[in-house]
């Protein structure tokens, strides 16, 4: 090796010159990605972060009763608090009454412990007649609950700025009096059922899609081009068709007077006056979601099977393997990347499905997404909707991460 340095035309050592050129290319690539990256960061990633923030945000009440909570800091909750707490409460409530904003804390405190609603309303009504000094006695005179330490403990429990109570609610758990985590009453444990149902539906839809997609992908991959192109339309046309159109066609098919029920009656499986309910339950969700998500399973399977040379199977057979053995030992293992890609994609899409379950699922076929939408649009418990959304997001991102590790997101195929 010669010690002499090779110089480029501008007199710099070649190594330095090359590094410089590479740095320039790197910068160019980053600058090209930057606009979309920033756009997604501002309008997508930041809002999702904001949503996480919202699910633990409990500052509303903290900011509305500042003096009370300040005075409560030193109180340990074992017996009734002293005068300063009541004085703080008096000042806070007077302020809230003047601004007519006390309505907001009622719902929040009632969630902590029922009975706060009448307590706050009655107190606010009479608070103008309070005299200076000895507030504790006056409060208890207005309502005897102000003399019960459990109400004041509940009030103190609402003091922290951040809370994960909404997450507990999403798992059918809550805080009791002493801040222990307990399960909610048996008849109110609805979220566990929902989570299990969502996982269950997503799992079985993935399994059905796999069972249906594997043979047809194989057929598409092995048929001569002119036939397979024609059959591919059967896969791609639903893929390109509006989700609502496909869902409405299932609503037509599955309704009580619909063609499928007509067929069942005609075959004689059910009496005409006793037609089975195929829609507005979990059956409708299963059937419609399987058909709608099937193309997402076929496309990755097809693109993997297309690359498998048919001579491999012939070689297996010529070496004495029966078709079944050759399939199990040669063909199937080669398709595993496609199976992984398809199953993960379908599972991810199914777990967050909203439109189809909402239209054909009824009450017993609705999934976690429908509950999030309900809390966003009807009950307006946005913090709880955000908490459920975050829990779902964590699940989806975990699967996405696995997908990325196994398949590589840049190998995703479309059409």
């Amino acid at each position: 090796m010669s010690k002499e340095q090779i110089l480029s035309s501008d007199g710099l050592p070649l190594e330095v010159s090359l590094k410089k050129a590479e740095r320039k290319n790197k910068l160019k690539a980053v600058l090209l990605v930057a606009p979309l990256f920033l756009f997604i960061l501002i309008i997508y990633v930041f809002p999702i972060g904001d949503m996480l923030f919202r699910s633990i945000d409990d500052r509303m009440i903290t900011n509305m009763l500042p003096k009370t909570f300040k005075a409560m800091e030193k109180w340990d909750g074992s017996e009734l608090p002293d005068e300063p707490v009541y004085q703080g409460l008096y000042e806070d409530l007077t302020f809230l009454k003047e601004n007519k904003t006390y309505g907001k804390i009622i719902a929040r405190l009632n969630y902590e412990k029922s009975g706060f609603s009448s307590l706050i309303k009655k107190t606010v009504r009479k608070i103008n007649k309070f005299e200076e000094g000895n507030y504790k006695e006056q409060f208890i005179k207005v309502h005897k609950r102000w003399g019960q330490s459990d109400y004041l403990v509940a009030l103190k429990n609402a003091a922290p700025k951040w809370t994960y109570a909404k997450y507990l609610k999403g798992m059918d758990r809550k805080f009791d009096q002493d801040r222990n985590i307990i399960q909610v009453d048996e008849d109110r444990r609805i979220h566990k059922i929902l989570w299990l149902r969502t996982l269950n539906v997503a799992f079985w839809v993935t399994v059905f899609c796999f069972i249906l997609a594997y043979p047809i992908s194989h057929l598409l991959a092995t048929l001569p081009m002119k036939y397979s192109n024609l059959l591919m339309i059967c896969v791609l046309l639903p893929f390109w068709t509006s989700l609502l159109v496909r869902t409405s066609s299932w609503m037509v098919l599955l309704q009580q007077q619909g063609p499928i029920n007509d067929l069942i009656v005609w075959i004689g499986l059910a009496a005409d006056d006793n037609r089975p309910e195929l829609m507005y339950n979990v059956i409708g969700t299963f059937v419609a979601m399987t058909q709608i998500l099937l193309p997402f399973m076929v496309l990755p399977l097809y693109s993997v099977m297309k690359t498998i040379s048919p001579s491999l199977m012939r070689a297996g057979k010529s070496l004495g393997g029966t078709p079944l053995v050759s399939f199990v030992k040669i063909y199937f293992p080669l398709t595993i990347p496609g199976i992984g890609a398809g199953c993960l994609l379908v599972f991810i899409l199914a777990i967050g499905y909203y439109i189809t379950p909402a239209l054909v699922g009824g009450a017993s076929g609705s999934l976690i997404s429908n509950t999030i939408a309900y809390h966003m649009k009807s009950s307006l418990d946005w913090a709880f909707a955000s908490a459920l959304g975050t829990m779902l997001l964590v699940g989806v991102l975990t699967i996405y991460w696995i997908y990325n590790k196994l398949v590589g997101i840049d190998n995703i195929k479309l059409g």
Binding site: L237, W240, S249, Y354, L414
Partner: protein, 284 residues
């Protein structure tokens, strides 16, 4: 697929079972779409195959629901179509430009942390729409863009870009970079090289990404449900509202129009894909 004469009987049975099964699956995939077509021409008010329709009596068919869709007094389809087209048009342009530029960067071999960036830029396609909808709604409400076209267009750009990024990066994998170097050596500046050399070559990928972005925006209902006011109603929103109330033949007519549209888009996407493969010299 004809079998050779010497095929054993059990294998023969197995083979035809397999073909029958495949046939049934294809039927399951495509048949539901064709239920809608005849029902949209129903002369009666119910979503049911009437006796006259089954007997192919011309009196059983009519165009009244198409008339109702276009001229119906209470029907919001006109406004919805206008909004859908405006939103999808601008969302497509936005997604296509941002996505193509980003794909050029991502395909460069000098791009650092390629996989991480790719995973982030594709994520809007993977994250459930209900979560995207919730998060974007909070954001748009905060910046005062809720219930505006701008807000909906911006969120649809987000949802559309992953498709453009995927299709354009796929086109760029077979891209021969010596042609751009040749252009540069002949004195062309980078912008000129891109417009005259790179863009025409990756055009099929760009257009098929744009088609995906268009369809995504045109079909999207969850995010719009959160964001739209009465003025911003779109076709999917009107279908959603209609389907929740009752199945009406007018919805079948709209659905038929949408199926025709998606057929046209499928055909153009398919032609583009073949052209792209030919241009890149990939023979399958």
């Amino acid at each position: 697929m004809a079998l050779p004469n010497h095929t054993q009987l059990n294998y023969r049975i197995w083979h035809y079972t397999y073909l029958t099964f495949c046939g049934l699956v294809f039927f399951f995939l495509i048949a539901p779409l064709f239920v809608i077509l005849p029902l949209s021409f129903n002369a009666e008010q119910y979503i049911h195959f009437s006796a006259k329709m089954l007997a192919l009596d011309p009196e059983g068919f009519s165009l009244r629901w198409y008339e109702d869709m276009i001229y119906g007094t209470k029907n919001p389809w006109g406004l919805a179509t206008k909004n859908s087209l405006i939103i999808a048009f601008f969302a497509t342009i936005g997604s296509t430009i941002l996505g193509t530029v980003a794909a050029l960067g991502l395909s460069s071999r000098y791009m650092p942390y390629k996989a991480a960036f790719m995973a982030l830029l594709i994520s809007p396609m993977i994250v459930p729409l209900i979560i995207s909808g919730t998060a974007i709604f909070f954001f748009m409400a905060k910046v005062g863009l809720a219930a505006t076209h701008t807000g909906i267009i911006l969120s649809h750009i987000i949802l559309g870009t992953p498709f453009v990024v995927i299709t354009v990066t796929a086109t760029l994998t077979g891209f021969d970079h010596s042609v751009t170097r040749a252009a540069a050596s002949l004195g062309s500046n980078p912008v000129n090289t891109f417009m005259k050399i790179t863009l025409p070559l990756i055009m099929p990928g760009v257009i098929s990404g744009a088609l995906f972005a268009f369809v995504t925006s045109f079909d999207e209902v969850v995010v719009v449900l959160f964001l739209a006011g009465l003025e911003n109603t779109t076709i999917p929103i009107q279908m959603w509202v209609g389907l929740r109330e009752q199945l009406s033949p007018t919805i079948m007519a709209v659905a038929t129009c949408l199926i025709v549209m998606s057929t046209l888009i499928l055909v153009s996407a398919e032609l583009l894909r073949r052209r792209s493969e030919r241009l890149r010299g990939i023979n399958r």
